[in-house]
């Protein structure tokens, strides 16, 4: 009589995360700091993106034991990342009871052509996107939540802004498109027709859309909210900064009170140095994570 694993339940958990900050953590202690600072969820991973960048090699799903330790340490939902297309890593995370799976370009892809069929899972998925077509392809595959990709591990918000604007611009264009042109638009976007029609009618993505990839300051978090995302992922930006607990709390407050410059000013004061950022224009193409995903 009870239904589990439905699209409503999967999308519903993402709706409960709105207006919040999801933080990357690599240990149970970091997870507790994140929860104490007001994170609405944590992302369990082996290394934060800045370290993945620095150390190179193949980046994979975290050790299930580590994910379980983090699940035991906090009451907020725990997410974990799997490689693009690696559906067995996803089966493992579902088996141990992770609350959300991120099929993430931050890890080394396991499949360079196909993503995971996310409809087959009871656990919800979040996927990265750089524009409307990519977002709708992921939703078509069953993603219950989208995050604009940005460029993870850089501490530079420019790509996060670019990708969120691209998604929102795509939606505004759809709204100005007459009905008879939608099939051709769907073809050009490489997106399922039904989702194109639904997005146009809603005037927003049919699932929750967070921003991600390079947020490092409370002002960055508020910027993304004012631009129109539903919440923020902060990865390396917290635990690669001088004072993670203070910065995490400040980013949470700035995400809630994103329209109040007095609050953003107050929480930005004296929180120590942010992570050192990277200029994305000086990075070789091969080092970009955002181009992973198809």
């Amino acid at each position: 009589m009870a239904d589990v694993g439905t699209a409503k339940l999967k999308r519903g958990l993402a709706q409960m995360l709105k207006g919040g900050v999801i933080m990357d953590v690599t240990t149970a202690d970091q997870a507790k700091i994140a929860e104490e600072a007001g994170a609405c969820a944590v992302m369990a991973l082996e290394r934060v993106p800045a370290d993945i960048r620095k150390e190179g090699g193949v980046a994979r799903m975290a050790d299930p034991l580590k994910v379980k330790e983090i699940m035991d340490a906090v009451t907020i939902p725990v997410m974990a990342k799997v490689r693009i297309g690696h559906f067995v890593e996803a089966q493992v995370l579902e088996a141990i009871g992770a609350d959300f799976i991120d099929e993430s370009e931050v890890l080394t892809p396991a499949d360079e052509r196909y993503h995971i069929n996310k409809h087959l899972f009871k656990v919800p998925f979040v996927c990265g996107a750089r524009d409307l077509g990519e977002a709708l392809r992921r939703i078509g595959e069953g993603a219950a939540m989208i995050r604009t990709k940005g460029e993870a591990g850089t501490g530079n918000v420019v790509e996060a802004v670019r990708h969120l604007r691209a998604v929102l611009d795509g939606i505004r264009r759809l709204q100005a498109t007459p009905e008879e042109e939608l099939m051709t638009v769907a073809k050009e976007l490489g997106a399922p027709y039904e989702l194109v029609v639904e997005t146009r009618a809603l005037g927003r993505l049919p699932v929750v859309n967070f921003s991600a990839g390079g947020l490092a300051t409370p002002a960055d978090a508020a910027l993304m909210m004012q631009l129109g995302c539903d919440g923020n992922f902060v990865g390396s930006g917290i635990f690669k900064s001088d004072n993670p607990a203070k910065r995490a709390k400040a980013i949470v407050e700035a995400t809630t009170h994103y329209n109040d410059p007095d609050v953003i000013a107050r929480v930005s004061e004296g929180i120590g140095e942010p992570m050192k950022g990277l200029d994305i224009r000086s990075m070789p193409e091969a080092e970009l994570l955002q181009t992973r995903g198809w």
Binding site: M1, A2, D3, V4, G5, T6, K8, L9, G12, L13, Q15, M16, L17, K18, G19, G20, E35, A37, G38, A39, C40, A41, M71, T75, I76, P77, E94, G97, A98, D99, F100, K122, V123, P124, V252, E253, T256, H257, D260
Partner: protein
């Protein structure tokens, strides 16, 4: 009549949409000034620890408790129910402690155990109410002054104490506005009296 939705974190826009579709003004409440302008409050679904911390930071915990003690109707869904409870297990103690119920966080299980089902709610009449439970809290004990309006496997899931209403599920996600209508009726009666 203005019914505010606490907008610190969670599914705020879903509650506002239901209220607006019922013809009620539903401003977001983030500050004490916002709270002063509403006749009643909905505390939405979301993360209770996150909302609790943000409430303390803005002083809204005390302000909401004071208003509620002077008779402001409050409806809490899921995380909102945890915040209103007198006691809550599985994490930090609840903040508002306005309602005589004891709850256990996430006691129906993790996200893979979240479920949808139909509930009989005599106070709302037929048909059965479709209910969406997401990492839902379980009500373990209710006080004498609490009316249980619906139960699932003998655990209360919708309950009322005076002008306080709580549900462990999310009527804002199911497309059935009857629970919101029920709350608005409480607000109207309260305003008239």
């Amino acid at each position: 009549m203005k019914v505010g939705v606490l907008a610190l974190q969670g599914d705020v826009s879903e509650h506002r949409k239901v209220l607006q579709d019922l013809g009620v003004e539903a401003p977001e409440v983030r500050t004490m000034a916002d709270l002063a302008g509403v006749d009643a409050l909905i505390i939405p679904g979301g993360e209770s620890t996150t909302m609790g911390k943000l409430m303390i930071e803005s002083g809204l915990d005390r302000a909401i408790r004071e208003r509620a003690e002077r008779g402001m109707p409050v409806y809490g869904t899921c995380a909102g129910m945890i915040l209103l409870a007198r006691a809550a297990g599985g994490g930090e103690p609840p903040l508002l402690r306005l309602m005589d119920i004891e709850v256990q966080r996430n006691a129906y299980g993790r996200q893979v155990d979240s479920f949808e089902t139909d509930l009989d709610v005599p106070a709302l009449g037929p048909p059965a109410l479709h209910a969406v439970f997401i990492r839902a809290p379980v009500v373990e004990r209710v006080g004498r002054d609490v009316d249980v309006l619906a139960s699932l496997q003998s655990r209360p899931v919708l309950a009322r104490q005076g002008v306080l209403l709580v549900s462990s599920f999310h009527p804002e996600l199911s497309g059935d506005a009857r629970v919101h209508r029920y709350f608005l009726e409480l607000v109207r009666q309260n305003k008239a009296s």
